[in-house]
């Protein structure tokens, strides 16, 4: 259970988020829509502890994530998977190494890492690209690598920030199906997107943000933030 309570975030005099509250239940699929500058990215940064809220709090399973000490933040981040629009892969590491990196950080033995990484690469159909470097991959493959990395810890919560922003329609479908599959396996998915077709096709709960406020929160909704 994720509870966002009265979150307000100021950047100087600008209010990026203004008293935002909502709850996400286990296994839920939530889509966050809104124009640029509506506060989607700020909200995601707050979930990742990249930023601290000015007011309000976010609790995950009863724990306020912004009360975590700096040294505990890396361990918290390993429990949530994140996918970005610009992929954020490590350019000098292969697909395999990018995915394995997250596990290596946690100190798991090599043979276990290998098993888990290969399993995840199968899930995103990238096993045959394991030794490729990011610059050798297509946009869709890059994003699937990023998703594989986000999933490798078996997170209960996956955040996807405009994951299809840089992809062509065919890849968009691929990523969308992948997200649905992940959700069906029991992971909470929070998807921030601009992609009207995708939102309409998914038919999931849609939270609409505008100027830092929630203007709509509907189940099985279509793309509409006005």
């Amino acid at each position: 259970m994720i509870i966002v309570e009265g979150i307000t975030k100021h950047y100087g005099s600008r209010k990026a988020l203004d008293n935002v509250s909502f709850t996400i239940k286990p296994k839920e699929f939530v889509i966050l829509v809104g124009p640029s500058g509506a506060g989607k990215t700020t909200l995601i940064k707050l979930f990742l502890c990249e930023e601290k809220p000015t007011f309000g709090r976010i609790t995950i399973d009863g724990k306020d994530i912004h009360l975590l000490k700096d040294i505990h933040i890396p361990y918290y981040r390993r429990q949530i998977g994140v996918v970005w629009q610009d992929f954020k892969l490590l350019p000098n590491k292969t697909v395999y190494e990018n995915v394995a990196f997250a596990l290596e950080v946690s100190g798991k033995p090599d043979d276990k890492i290998k098993k888990e990484v290969m399993k995840i690469l199968d899930l995103v159909s990238l096993r045959d690209k394991a030794d490729s470097f990011p610059h050798e991959l297509s946009g869709g493959e890059l994003q699937r690598t990023a998703i594989a990395r986000a999933l490798v810890f078996n997170p209960r919560f996956l955040i996807a920030d405009e994951p299809t922003g840089n992809l062509d329609p065919q890849n968009v479908n691929e990523i969308m199906n992948l997200l649905l599959k992940i959700n069906s396996l029991g992971t909470i998915v929070l998807l921030a997107t601009h992609n009207r077709d995708m939102v309409d096709a998914l038919g999931k709960r849609v939270i609409s943000l505008d100027k830092g406020k929630i203007v709509r929160d509907r189940k099985r909704a279509k793309y509409d933030y006005r």
């Binding site: 990249e50 981040r77 994140v82 950080v105 100190g107 990395r149």
Partner: protein
């Protein structure tokens, strides 16, 4: 713990290789900086050895009256030897002085014709060598005080005072300014290395950010960069040492063999000298590599 260390080393080494061009440029610049340091350090060693060699030749002679007995002169000699700052005292009898004089002028028949070995006009003398040219005046004064029978007719100090003074001042000046220059270049070289590594890490700041966002701890991110800094230092030290030895063998050695400084007992370019240069480079390269990597990553870790 061991698993992590292994991974960190492996990660540092692979990124060292995969960032080939960046690593190459960094090492190239570091090698140059180390060469500058080594050249100035060598120059300093050469200069101070040369100055020591010159200082060793600054000495003073004390001449005795004809009436002085050899016994009294020798007793004064042993007294002088016990003075502080005296390295060596050489007694030259009038007979020996004449022999040396004749030997020096063996090709000048006019002089040889005028001088007969029976009428020796040359005085007996003590040649006093000192450890520090600045002590000369004091030592001569003490010797004159010990000479209670007034056997000394004159000393070479009166004639040579100005030359000695000039040599001493020049030596001090050269030594101080070469040390200062070496220090200035040391600082410049350290700053160059520091900045090169900072830029190298700056170009990879996004990598650091990504690592943090996928849950790597600060030290897990930082160690590979620090090891890379150490690699750079090690490779640059090896390269610059090889260049230095090559340069020495082709350019410097032929000159040194015939040069003044080689006459001063200890060869300048000894094993000790090379060890000093190698250690100097190694310590500077590795410590600056480590510290600058640490500081440069710290800036990008605040995600």
């Amino acid at each position: 713990m061991f698993v992590s260390f292994n991974r960190i080393l492996r990660s540092a080494f692979s990124s060292f290789l995969r960032n080939g061009w960046l690593s190459f440029v960094t090492i190239f610049i570091m090698t140059q900086a180390l060469l500058i340091i080594s050249i100035f350090a060598s120059l300093n060693v050469v200069i101070s050895t040369s100055i020591e060699a010159v200082n060793e030749r600054i000495d003073v002679a004390v001449f005795f009256k004809d009436t002085a007995q050899e016994d009294s002169i020798l007793s004064l000699k042993s007294q002088t030897e016990s003075l502080e700052g005296v390295r060596e005292v050489i007694y030259t009898s009038p007979q020996e002085a004449l022999e040396i004089f004749l030997e020096d002028n063996r090709n000048r028949s006019i002089i040889r014709d005028v001088i007969s070995s029976e009428e020796n006009f040359l005085p007996a003398s003590l040649e006093i060598k000192v450890t520090d040219p600045y002590l000369i005046e004091e030592i001569v004064e003490q010797v004159q005080e010990m000479d209670s029978d007034h056997l000394i007719s004159e000393t070479s100090l009166e004639d040579n005072q100005k030359i000695i003074e000039r040599l001493r001042n020049l030596g001090g000046f050269i030594q101080n300014s070469s040390l200062l220059l070496a220090l200035v270049f040391l600082i410049i070289a350290v700053l160059i290395i520091f900045n090169t590594i900072r830029i190298t890490i700056f170009t990879r700041r996004e990598e650091i950010e990504v690592m943090k966002l996928v849950g790597a701890t600060d030290w897990y991110i930082r160690w590979p960069f620090i090891f890379e800094g150490i690699f750079y230092g090690l490779v640059a030290t090896v390269l610059s040492s090889l260049l230095l030895v090559a340069g020495y063998l082709t350019l410097i050695k032929p000159m040194v063999d015939s040069y003044v400084i080689s006459t001063s007992g200890n060869p300048v370019f000894s094993a000790g000298f090379w060890t000093f240069i190698l250690l100097l480079q190694l310590i500077i390269a590795v410590s600056v590599g480590t510290i600058s990597s640490y500081l440069a990553t710290r800036r990008h870790l605040s995600v």
